[in-house]
Subunit: 475 residues, 4 copies
């Protein structure tokens, strides 16, 4: 938190954040334990043959999870009509447990469309338990990906939705269902007869239990992930599962993308926190470990690396924070969107991409600082390294963000919005260079434009991050 404060200046809810951060002195051991024990068990049946699909985390897990909800990771967003508390609490969470930020994110990503698009009846029924301030509230989840992949949803989503009175009955499978076991989920499905592309998708609200009290979805199994073990990811089976349409059916893909916006920003925030954590652990090691007659940190090469990485870390922070700030302006919008929304989209792609790369590199390097100890399951860096890779892939791989960012530039001129946004504080020459570089790139043939997009996107992200940090520091 002191890192955030140093960069951002006075924070909203500082007392709250301090208390939450203080709790982690106790919470870290819980988090480490959850990671160490690997994938939790799934108890599918009780002794009498009833399907229960209970996830057997250690009891402390639920305590840890509850803390963040109580601090307001979800309910404060509605209370204060701002996602900033979510972002700040999420940063503190992810510094200690990057995977744990996922439940808060997907819960918020469920509450928001419910709030924006749910009927007043649905809201009255489902929002209050989600926004409960004491104890574990109802959790949300966002399930899009199916077995054929998560990038090209237009084709990969095979889950069918069949209307049945006020309800829709969903049948299909979700292959990467994060925070499985949640009381509510928003789910992408294809209404019967809708086209086999992204226009054919709609978004549904799926409760855990049917009206008759039985399980509305079952969990086939939990995934054995290399990281983020503090969020259970499972495969979900839907068989005529009761659900509610959110928004207009033909706008489904917009709603889905709005859901992803939140996840991407949260991922960027988490990635920065993770990078900061890996650096902090490397620092505490290098300050104490000796070699060749002095502390490891005292060696010039090591010292240079720490200094340079710190710069990148601060830039990452500035970029992630800007993505969040822009989202905070546009998260209430619906289709059709403003230019501000398109600007946000591009910044979000840059932020998700760049922060995750920085996090992965930093975690790898922190491991190297530890030498042989770094590869042992006994110490923390081995964990940050695993967590970082999930961070890099979740919510879209680098390829995805590069290409989607490119599209936002081509179709919406989002790069121009960005350059304008940065113009007040950017170095003029740099801005001009980058700008002409981008414009030139957009005139290439498709093959070339996409094929050589990576260095362009990296530069654009770095330039943006650097400029934004200057803005924050200049302030």
């Amino acid at each position: 938190m002191s890192f955030c404060r140093e960069i951002l200046g006075p924070l909203p809810n500082e007392v709250l954040l301090k208390e939450y951060e203080a709790w982690w002195r106790e919470g870290q051991a819980i988090s480490d334990d959850v990671d160490r024990r690997g994938t939790p068990w799934l108890r599918m049946f009780d002794r009498f043959g009833n399907r229960v699909d209970e996830i057997l985390y250690p009891p402390d897990y639920w305590k840890m999870l509850t803390k963040g909800y109580e601090a307001g990771a979800v309910w404060r967003v509605f209370e204060e009509d701002s996602i900033l508390p979510f972002m700040l609490l999420g940063y503190v969470t992810a510094f200690h447990d990057p995977g744990l930020n996922c439940p808060y994110t997907v819960s918020l990503s469920t509450a928001v469309p419910l709030h924006k698009y749910g009927t007043s009846e649905l809201q009255a029924r489902f929002l209050p338990p989600m926004l409960r301030r004491e104890g574990l509230p109802w959790q949300g989840a966002t399930w899009m990906t199916e077995v054929k992949g998560g990038s090209d949803l237009g084709v990969a989503v095979e889950t069918q939705a069949r209307p049945a009175g006020d309800l829709w009955l969903l049948t299909g499978e979700k292959y990467f269902a994060s925070n499985v076991g949640a009381e509510l989920a928003v789910v992408a499905a294809r209404p019967v007869g809708a086209p086999m592309n992204v226009r054919g998708l709609a978004l549904y609200l799926l409760p855990k239990y049917r009206e008759d009290g039985t399980l509305n979805y079952t969990v086939r199994r939990l995934k054995d992930k290399t990281g983020t073990r503090s969020v259970p990811t499972g495969e979900v089976e839907l068989v005529e599962s009761e659900s509610f349409l959110l928004g207009r059916q033909e706008h489904g893909i917009y709603l889905i993308l709005e859901v992803l916006n939140l996840s991407r920003v949260a991922n960027a925030i988490s990635a920065v926190a993770l990078a900061q954590r890996a650096m902090a652990d490397a620092l505490s090691f290098a300050e104490q470990r000796e070699a060749f007659g002095r502390k490891v940190l005292g060696h010039p090469l090591m010292h240079t690396q720490f200094r340079e990485r710190l710069v990148d870390l601060r830039r990452s922070y500035a970029l992630a924070w800007e993505a969040g700030s822009l989202l905070n302006e546009v998260w209430r919008e619906s289709y059709p969107y403003s230019d501000r929304y398109h600007l946000f989209r591009l910044v979000a792609h840059l932020a998700k991409y760049w922060t995750a790369e920085i996090a992965a590199q930093t975690a790898k390097w922190a491991m190297e600082v530890h030498g042989g100890l770094g590869v042992l399951a006994e110490y923390s860096v081995e964990r940050w390294f695993r967590e970082a890779m999930v961070s890099a892939i979740w919510e879209g791989t680098p390829h995805r963000h590069i290409l989607d960012g490119l599209e936002a530039m081509e179709k919406k001129g989002a790069h121009r919005l960005l350059f304008e946004h940065l113009s007040a504080v950017a170095d003029d020459k740099e801005l001009k260079d980058v700008s002409s570089q981008v414009e030139a790139h957009l005139h290439l043939s498709v093959e070339k434009r996409e094929g050589t997009a990576e260095p362009l996107f990296w530069n654009l992200a770095k330039f943006t991050a650097k400029t934004l940090l200057r803005k924050l520091e200049g302030a």
Copy 2:
């Protein structure tokens, strides 16, 4: 192997290599199983209270391990008076199981100093079981690192050696003892009264059993490593353990470094094989998986990445192979060394450093190609990613190789030897640029020289790799 052949041209022992590679169609499942089950058990005592320190791998493990020995990973080196068979077999091994290359490497690294420095009595006693051609031979191991670290051996080695007739009795602990359980090990220790620096170290040959048949060393525990689970790494306790001095006591540090030479080259070879494997798995995925109406491989961005990575892979190969070829010229040398030896040293530092970086980047990227599937323990890339990190840290972290490489340039003018070595085939301008860059760098102050050494070393490595590939291709 076809990859090696394509770059190198006709290989020695091709039939043998083909057979060995064919065996891996069966062996891969064994290797995957060994990795999946994590750190093996250590059975310390039998039912009657006798210490046995037995490592409980699945029986298949021993079969897999034996294959490489039988193919000649060690014995052929002496038979053919060349380390090339070791390098080629090692490449095939590491393509399927990077960790498994370690036992062969440390066995060879034990046999070589025994062969170079052992008395004829020691050789007669210990070489034949190590060079056995059928069944599992006696294995070797190279134990230097202690709990205070593995970089600064001069200070960190606290194991004491006390003379006792023909024997020396060793007392101390080895903290990262790879291939623990080996029948023989070469061990760094400090003779009583020797100075507390690198000059005070000597190298000893330590058998597993004492003359009276009891265990000569005990294993405190096996390490829970994130990768390379097919070699058991343990903590070894030495209590008056019987051992034999190798070479002259005051030359100990030279012998130790000679041992490390082999490991570094082997690590470079393994890293390239690992990178090739990660690429191969990514390729087989991208060729079959569809998104947005075509195979993933067909997307221009993906295609570019494959193409560029292939170039880096080939360059890595050329660099690693050159390190091996040079070692093959100088491995019989003893102190004082020739210029060729110093040239080798620098190339080895460049190769260990650069190939491991390329491997780690490639493994990370291969994971991203798989999208969400990449982070699941179920599929292979998650493993290559873990293996790659061990590869990057074992046998010296990047920091270590950068600084040691720098030293070789400063003290031995190794860069000049290198430039001369490359001059016939290098691009003249590039050579000149790199050369003046290096010379300028060496005139900086210590703080600057070390502090900014990383980009210099990266460039030098890349230039060397590129030039060497050109040489191979030009041939």
Copy 3:
């Protein structure tokens, strides 16, 4: 095997048995490893999203499994028209790995009804791969139990069978599917419209793959069992799974019981082998461990216990063997059955019940002989103890066998057949006592008859076992 030989005299196929037993010197380590690693993984999907349901045992497992098939655990039964080879090979198997006897048993229990009741077309298609003599043949499996329980099949089986041309389509779930992954299974199901009791069940042959090459059944998960980990037990999901009716639909329950006959005899044989193994391990310990100035075995109390347990072990063997010999006479029968069949039924109930009890007691005691070492996962007795409990519960709990045995006496007068069968060798007085005890018991009210059946059944089993041993020894 020498134990069998000592009791039974010269055995058929002695050379074969010796070879098979000799193999276990290598096989034991495989078996121990499989047990140690716990429940294997189930790989449900390949990287491209195709369901594969692959059980990830260590590769050695398949080697171990193949050995018993090749030795003839199944094919010799048909070759020699005798189940004795199955019983003898099973004994040797279970001495080393009690769970491994299960695959052979269920494979035979699949081949037999196919041979007795399959159309010539079915036989021509499926028997040859099951009776293959080299490599791993097609395996069988017998899946009856569903989530509501395995005793009262008449009510618990909810799987429905719907006719579709020559095929029947099965839909439902099997909750304890042993040897899951088998190429063929015999499955209890209820044809549409059939009554909700045992008369409403029929037996179907279910191949692993549909005609179109896709999976015909899927595995929901593998069960985490306390023992018998060398046979995978899973939950099977049937959705319109293609299958073939065996025999006449209305005789289904008879076919099901015939399948169970084989399992019960095999369980009895395995239990005796397990008890012998536990005793052998206890003996080897007691012969070497010292306390109070002599070997543990030398203490009078210990000595008495070994002597008495050996008597029980030999009696168990005689009882199990008799059950097998009688089965060998009647296994070709179909409904309606001979008196010999009913005699067999009673002996089988006595044998399954009593041998499992003796095995459980012996394993517990063998653990105690080892003192504190006995509770450690490191040594063998802890395993035998876990295995024994599965043995006691599989194929019917004690309650089940007591009550079913009682029914055979009430309805078929099976006790009289038994007494007559034993009369030539039994002690006259004992026979008379037991006989009148049983007759008196059968005249009690239902409540009393069932409520107090346990000591009666125990005595009857013990008397039978004792008398049968006398017969074998007298011979």
Copy 4:
């Protein structure tokens, strides 16, 4: 607790017990989780190479453990000068987690000899932290057994004690060190020069840390036990470990036996609680599961078994409680002992032996009641079954208690003390029968006396238990 109350009448500290029992509604999930995760990790070193020997239980474990201490499992014994609170709290603990009773027991078994035999200086230093009422107090441990065995301590203890001023320095290994990690332990060792038999042993108090703050003992590894995973059992290495002699050196063996007295009584109490728990779980299953048209419990055979087992359970309780009550009279005694002490010794042997047997049988049977579900790691009975076996072996195998009980009868006439003790309530005829049976037995030759002691001891235990229950019920 209601079970205790029903048998014993009003209990001391009822409110306290109720609160403690109520806590377990939350605690059970913690306990189950600790069991499920198997043997915990041992973190031997911190990142800087300092030995720390930290046991990595989930954080909740410590919370669970603290609850019993805070409730008074140890401090109340001194507060109320009575071991009854320890026994009652222990019963409630063991009902939920049989292994967790061990830490309380060994802590008390450390505090008691410190209180009886420690110098006032030692007491002032070490008792207050052990009797702390809030938070986790210092824990104790009782380490006797070495690698050669735990029965014949006179020979098996090889740990040497060397005097050094006020301290003694201990060197050796303890092979089954329960509650390893405890802040204090009482340890059997042999002073230099003492004879190689039980007379040569003395008892020492061993703190976890030396005067200089470093670890006073190290943990070689944690044992992989089949049960009681909620107490860490390890192997302890002592190298010149600082310790304090307790009592007079030549009375060491008496002090050691006094320590064991407490453990045996605690084990008996735990075994009964475990048996009750297994029955309770079986009951809840049998009340709800249906077969053959009625609840499983409704079947006469099942009903009989429940009724009979309940009788045995109540008898076990009476026997265990009497052992505790007698101990409560004599626990302050020192050598030479009263007849009451010898009576206690015999009752303790009978109780430890018989209750553990009943517990093991009950757990096995409870598993059978669950049918196939019973062998799954998913449900509770599989755990009780594993726990029960540890209970049967810990604190002396059946053999040990039978023979030691026999010795107490031979040497101290303890049987006569017992018969006199029971005479007021025993059935006269039964008492006379048992009495003459015992007397006759004691006149047999050693070989026969020991060799046939088991049925005699069983009968004597059963008679004693039955009579004691009658006493409690009559009251």
